[in-house]
């Protein structure tokens, strides 16, 4: 293998928002920074390529439909001379990526983000995964769940965690936001996530249920629910039912530019979720200085470093949640530099190491 040429098949990358797009951008930029990578050719499903691209990254125009996308990917593989590695940024594109890799004789590398790989998929997906040289999963939990339904040497499945955007740092609470939400002299409890009826596993219900008892010990608490979605109305009703509607504030969708300011408002960040692939919000909250409470049944354990960087509780136990909330509000642990283990530098180093060890140059 000479300097490697990588074809990256991704849903969104440069020019898109969202967690997966960010992850893919970081990964592609890290790959392109390797000395022995000649070029990374990106074929996105969506998004525009107006954004400035890192050196040696070439992003083609996005292609929608599944069949058209597969053809575009193959065309890209054929027309960009030798492709050594086909990187597949989402499991749903794995069969197409596996086919392209096979046709052009390249290694296959599949990225797994979370829920999509937690349950057995049909045989085209399974055989694509089993054909991959390398699979990277965002967390140990996601890796383990994948290994439950694919028959593959576990050594080929590595963990490549989400990374922390350096924007997230501790800082003073924004006076403007304190005014806007009337938070002076309040302790702020916060959850940040989509409010989707399909994602009720995030655990807002459980926090709302615990809130009356939390307030009896910490009457100065306000619960800020950041994010929006089709479940918001139901959650608002639930807050009323629990008699805490005056202590809960539905902030709605927050502009990405301002999200750091919101995290800095939080004294305690809580999300007793049962189905996180990784839970990037935990590390963002931690890096912004909040004390964090999350679940111990999923990828959250990675973000919480098994409880070293926050409290990992049984997310479905009301008692555990109540105890954790009371204790975090009474004794906030504050910022811990250990969260920097998720820095982009560590991630990039690891990507370079994976690339050079798993796909050695001959």
């Amino acid at each position: 293998m000479g300097p490697r040429r990588i074809l990256a098949l991704v849903a969104d990358a440069f020019g898109s928002e969202g967690g997966i797009a960010t992850y893919d951008r970081n990964l592609i930029a890290s790959l392109a920074s390797c000395r022995d990578v000649a070029e990374v050719v990106v074929v996105p499903r969506r998004g525009k390529s107006t954004i400035k691209l890192p050196p040696r990254v070439h992003q083609l125009r996005s292609v929608g439909g599944r069949a058209a996308y597969s053809l575009a990917a193959l065309w890209a593989a054929r027309s960009h001379r030798t492709i050594d590695i086909v990187f597949c940024g989402h499991l749903y594109m794995a069969p197409a990526a596996a086919a392209v890799a096979k046709i052009v004789g390249a290694h296959l590398w599949i990225q797994i983000h979370g829920l999509e790989a937690w349950h057995a998929l049909s045989s085209p997906y399974r055989t694509s995964i089993e054909a991959a040289t390398l699979i990277t999963a965002v967390s140990r939990d996601t890796r383990r769940r994948l290994l439950e339904w694919v028959a593959i040497d576990p050594g080929r499945v590595k963990v490549l965690p989400n990374t922390l955007d350096p924007r997230f740092q501790p800082g003073a609470k924004s006076r403007e936001l304190l005014d806007r939400y009337n938070l002076h002299n309040k302790k702020v409890l916060m959850t940040v996530s989509r409010l989707s009826a399909k994602e009720r596993y995030k655990g807002h219900d459980r926090v709302l249920r615990a809130l009356p008892r939390v307030l009896s010990q910490h009457p100065e608490v306000m619960y800020l629910i950041v994010g929006d979605g089709d479940d918001r109305k139901r959650l608002e009703r639930l807050a009323t039912e629990h008699g805490v509607d005056d202590k809960v504030c539905f902030v709605g969708q927050v502009d990405d530019q301002r999200i750091v300011d919101y995290f800095r408002l939080a004294d305690v960040f809580v999300m007793p979720s049962t189905a996180e692939g990784f839970g990037i919000v935990f590390i963002e909250a931690m890096a912004s200085g909040a004390t964090v409470i999350g679940g111990n049944k999923d990828g959250s354990l990675d973000a919480l470093c098994d409880g070293l960087l926050g409290k990992a509780i049984d997310p479905e136990s009301d008692e555990d949640l109540l105890e954790a909330l009371n204790s975090a509000l009474a004794f906030p642990s504050g910022y811990d530099n250990q969260v920097q283990r998720f820095s982009r530098e560590m991630f990039a180093d690891h990507v370079v190491e994976l690339l050079s060890q798993v796909f050695p140059l001959h």
Binding site: S139, P154, H350, Q357
Partner: protein, 606 residues
Amino acid sequence: MCGIAGIYAYHYAANPAEREELRRIRDHMSARGPDGFGEWFSSDGRIGLGHRRLAILDLSERGLQPMLSSDGNLAITFNGEIYNYRQLRARLESQGHIFRTDTDTEVLLHLYAEKGEAMVNELRGMFAFGLWDAQKRALLLVRDPYGIKPLYYADDGWTLRFASQVKALVAGQKISTNPEPAGLVGFALFGSVPEPFTTYQEVRSLPAGSFMWVDRIGTHDIKRYFCIAEVYRSADAQKPRRTNDEVQATVRNSLLESVQHHLVSDVPVGAFLSGGVDSGALVGLMRDAGQREIQTITLTFEEFRATRQDEAPLAERIAAHYATRHITRLVTEQEFREDLPKILDAMDQPTIDGINTWFVSKAARELGLKVVLSGLGGDELFGGYPSFNDIPLSVRLLSIPGQIPWLGALVRRLLGGFAHGFNPKTASILEFGGTYPGAYLLRRGLFMPWELEGILGKEVAHHGLRRLDPIRCIGEALDPEPKSSFGKVAALESSLYMRNQLLRDADWASMAHSLEVRVPLVDATLLKQLAPLTGQYARRSKRLLANSPRLPLPNEVVERAKTGFGTPIERWLRRDNRVQRWKQIPALNLESCPWARRWAVQLAPA
């Protein structure tokens, strides 16, 4: 002989290795090493090694492990014996290496410094170790050629843990205990769990005769450095023309050399003695090797006293023949009932056998022995099993009808469906009997693959069969395929039954009593010397073994041994009202059901 453990937090995001967890893993294996314990952590806390010691070579404190190289660059935790360590040491000293102890452990450190991973090809013995190379920031895990010593690891994607026992890893409390369907299916098919699987998804066995590097990206591909099938394949290519006397002399010399190596010890070495050829010949060879005082031990069972099933009289005859100090240890049903919970507790992975070894090891330890020789492996090496005839015959007769698509499955469905209670193996004969892997499954199989749904449930059976792929799993023992039928069967028996069942049982059942069992007939060097000969002498090859001691085994031993002996353990289990689980499965309630199937269901993890 010892228990080893380690935790390597290899991933950048992982928490450092935790001391308390390492101690929990290590101290779960206190029976493996009652004479001492130790732990070592790197200065950055990313790796910790632990050790429980059974002191056999260099009994002083200097032999404690984990052991570091004098420059501090290497650290090792090691379980087993390197029988050629004195030769290796002499060579290393001549190359300028300076030794601080008289242990084989230190030889490993120097040999690694000299040769790197290629060291594995020079080791004669039984071993499993973890060696940390601080300069490479990498951990090397190694297991002996035959897999006599166990080595299990659990990799969660951030941290790799390893230990000599699966239950020790579980005792660390940090690994997932989600079940592995392939391990459960493997146990139901074979009566023991086939490597690399265990009953837990996250825990794997490092395969015999292989090594693996772990560094900051985690595990690297496992590299195999020894393969039994390959030895037979290359042996089949040789056609040594020798007279009978020359062959006998070669066999004797090779066996004697192996026994001499296996006697290296700073404590007395005894022997398990049955009424059979294998252990009897070993005792004779121990005398030839110069050992004067030999303590031998035989089991006898109350109910079999003075019956043809009792091997004690013949063992006593052999003991007298070689003038050993001999003990016949009586096992009663009462003792068995009392020990059964302890046996199940010590059993590291489910296995339908090993109870005999439990009692004979217990007897050895009662006599104060720390080390014994066992004749394990003689049937594999010298073709002692009926399978050496039956499997090639089955393949000859059935290979052509077996190739007709669907015929085998159709016959099995008809027989299995219409004739309730039809022997499942007979029903499967056309489906499996025409190939070596298939015929082997028929021979050693406890249940047939199509029966598993009724035993394990549909989902576990389905997933497990897909993940294990039993015929492929058996077929791997024949890669590369030996030419001779003897070589094929020997490779199958040694790589599957002996490795996954006999050697595992010998390990857990003896280590539970802090006893080291050495197996001179399970030795890679010996195999390379004998493989070109044993196949040619297949029918008489046990006689080659019997005639190897200067004072050959009495003829009556060779003749009597062919019909075998028994134990009443099955009868005791039948009477034990703690063993009831099988009654819930209709197929096991048939009068004709072999007891081993019921016992397996009792032992299978729920």
